[in-house]
Subunit: 426 residues, 2 copies
């Protein structure tokens, strides 16, 4: 897998029928991948398997018999119900009986008292623990994790609930066993974020040598996003500093024909960039939403500290709300329909007044599945942007084949790109 003979291979096994029958999507893999990268490691694979002891054993076996050092992290199946089978499966696999642990009983009693409850063995079996294995502190929940080590192989079981999974692993790797992830190398995945061009135009037409040139600095990969392509360069070095490489890459990119399509180089998301740049210029922003239904505001308010520059959003789903709060004229609605550049422009202007902001972004469109017409099909959105003395609005068309949630997301992100541009020229 790697040229470096000592590199640890780290595998994640996600256990739970709910991950295979469409009830929930996993979040722990994404978090762990990023976390390991920040520590100079990579996640080699993820297996998602049902709550079945024989399958858990087979999957564990696969990684424990492979040569070289490895860490296998299991997520899920540590709770109190009958379909929580990870502890027993791991104990059985290593032929370790479960035994009552006095220290766990103490911890459990204290934990339950803190929650004004009492623990007893009828509540759960968290006090029964595989012999010779080490319980792991659960900073955000009740079920203890499991750690077991053999020559070159470490096995960790953590709960599937994301905040328990994350806090347990951080506690363990950063306070208990810092040696496990110690690394001479650091990894930094530099993100070159482009927009409005498909992959094949970037690498086939605009900048055919780009990929090869970027490979001078590290492994290159390309990830299509809603409105463009993120090009990633995986930087690795031993001094844990990447400033020089990043400056070199930035200088190189400035000279390429791709430059006008790059909206950001770095890990920040579009909402993060908007909040950051609005703060730098002390621009107060507001939204007037219809079809996005609050999603654009939610994207911006996901950013910590957004309250310094984001004043609010008028989600005017009904036309009456557009009229009453945003001052959209009844005749404009009648003449052009709610989904029109005229209404989007009035919404944005009305938003500047109602919210007393410097820039207001507005949306009016059709997210479907109903409400489309031949002239204005599902996927149509009018996006307006206004300042105190200027307003303009455009109509965009997206594929009616996308579902409602994805169209809302596309509308919101397309508008946020307009907002970023407006902040930049403000």
């Amino acid at each position: 897998m790697s040229a470096h003979p000592r590199e640890k291979s780290i595998h994640l096994i996600l256990i739970g029928d709910e991950l295979l029958n469409g009830n929930i999507a996993d979040l722990n893999g994404k978090w762990l991948g990023r976390y390991l990268n920040s520590k100079g490691h990579s996640l080699a694979s993820i297996d998602i398997i049902p709550d079945r002891p024989s399958t858990i054993a087979l999957c564990l076996e696969k990684y424990l018999v492979s040569p070289g050092p490895s860490i296998v992290i299991l997520s899920g199946g540590l709770g109190p119900t009958k379909d929580d089978r990870t502890k027993n499966a791991v104990a059985d696999y290593f032929s370790k009986p479960l035994e009552e642990r006095a220290d766990l009983i103490e911890t459990l009693k204290t934990r339950y008292e803190k929650r004004q409850k009492s623990w007893n063995p009828a509540t759960n079996h968290y006090h029964l623990f595989p012999k010779d294995m080490t319980p792991l502190e659960n900073p955000s929940g009740l079920a203890p994790g499991i750690f077991y080590e053999q020559t070159q192989k470490a096995v960790i079981c953590a709960p599937g609930v994301p905040h328990e999974f994350e806090s347990m692993l951080m506690e363990f790797f950063e306070n208990q066993r810092t040696d496990l992830l110690s690394s001479e190398e650091a990894i930094y995945s530099l993100q070159i974020r482009t927009r409005f061009l498909p992959e094949e135009d970037i690498f086939g037409k605009i900048a055919p040598n780009l990929w090869n040139q970027l490979e001078r600095w590290g492994k290159v990969s390309s990830l299509p996003r809603a409105f463009g392509v993120d090009i990633m360069v995986e930087l690795k070095n031993q001094n844990h500093l990447f400033e020089d490489e990043i400056e070199e890459i930035k200088a190189y990119l400035k000279e390429t024909p791709l430059n006008p399509y790059i909206w950001h180089i770095g890990p920040e998301s579009l909402p993060e960039k908007i909040i950051l740049e609005a703060k730098e210029k002390s621009i107060m922003i507001g939204l007037a939403e219809s079809c996005t239904g609050g999603l654009a505001a939610s994207f911006l308010t996901d950013v910590p500290g957004s309250s310094e520059v984001f004043l609010g959003s008028v989600v005017s789903y009904a036309n009456e709300v557009k009229e009453n709060i945003l001052n959209v004229k009844t005749e404009t609605l009648k003449k052009h329909g709610a989904v029109s550049s005229e209404v989007a422009a009035e919404m944005a202007k009305g938003g500047v007044k109602a919210l007393k902001c410097d820039i207001c972004l507005s949306f009016s469109g059709i997210a479907g599945p109903g409400g489309g017409s031949p002239k204005k099909p599902v996927g149509t959105v009018a996006i307006g942007i206004a300042t105190s003395d200027e307003v303009h609005a455009d109509i965009f068309y997206f594929s009616a084949k996308e579902n409602r949630e994805r169209l809302k997301r596309r509308f919101a992100l397309r508008g946020l790109h307009q907002l970023l541009d407006q902040i930049r020229k403000y």
Copy 2:
């Protein structure tokens, strides 16, 4: 795996470094799991592996050498860039050379012309295709999929982009090869949705026999959610109708002590239930949000047809917006602070007036990471609910250990439970 000797085992292999380094979370697994269930099948496993031909081959091998019929679906790595290696890896694995396909060239030319572009082999290599394999129609994109069949084994390669993945598989299974997923049995996963009790209280105290009793109808599993537990019963039968079992289970549950904690039995989400029940009673709803920043509105507007009963949301992030649009009194803000039941109550009352709705739900809280204080720590939220002649508000405290996005989500869902209750007693 199953008692039924002929049951197909279906495996999904997700290919892409971006799924292992934390850049994106997979969505195709969740969709496929649900889709297969609806056809009477289950997804047996998911492997997430890097864009490396040797790893792709090893993973494919694992499922092709296992006994019995199986379908292996690969997702990702079919695009035009250098890190798209799935087609070559699969061709190599089966020792099939790539050959130029005249039919693919025709399709590509037509497809590009439709987009006012022209295709040529410099754009991509979609016209080179593994010998003896079948190209799959891509209804939402350009890269063709791949189908290859050997005795009892079928391999399908589809793009990783979710709407291309979904539309290609639906087209293939429903129009091209309906035989592959034909099943005598249908599966229905009945969801019993409870709230405000942890798993161990449900199965340890309130209803200790519930699990065994429910097993009379099918496999039982339990999934902890933000505010309660979803208990799932996997119903299987050959007549494809589940009404009788569902009625039996509902009648049984009515007699159990769990009944008051069940807020819904069925697949609908909380926002779906709210919209549905508001429609039944013709109740117009509105929101006045602060800390949730538009997320509660976005949840409601994810539901198709929500515009029939959802009028809008005033996302009043800044206090001035609370005062100007929602008519919150300056002195209330000064005396009690923005995060108080007094302000939440005024927001909800103001929302009823500003949006002209029958019920308005309001939120004011601290999602962090900044802004907390000893008296009002991060995780505190005031939730108000008003009708034209009634208002009340409560304060809730959630763990400050949760991150900002998760706290926003918890706040929003907690409030939506209040809203559902209010609709029920309206």
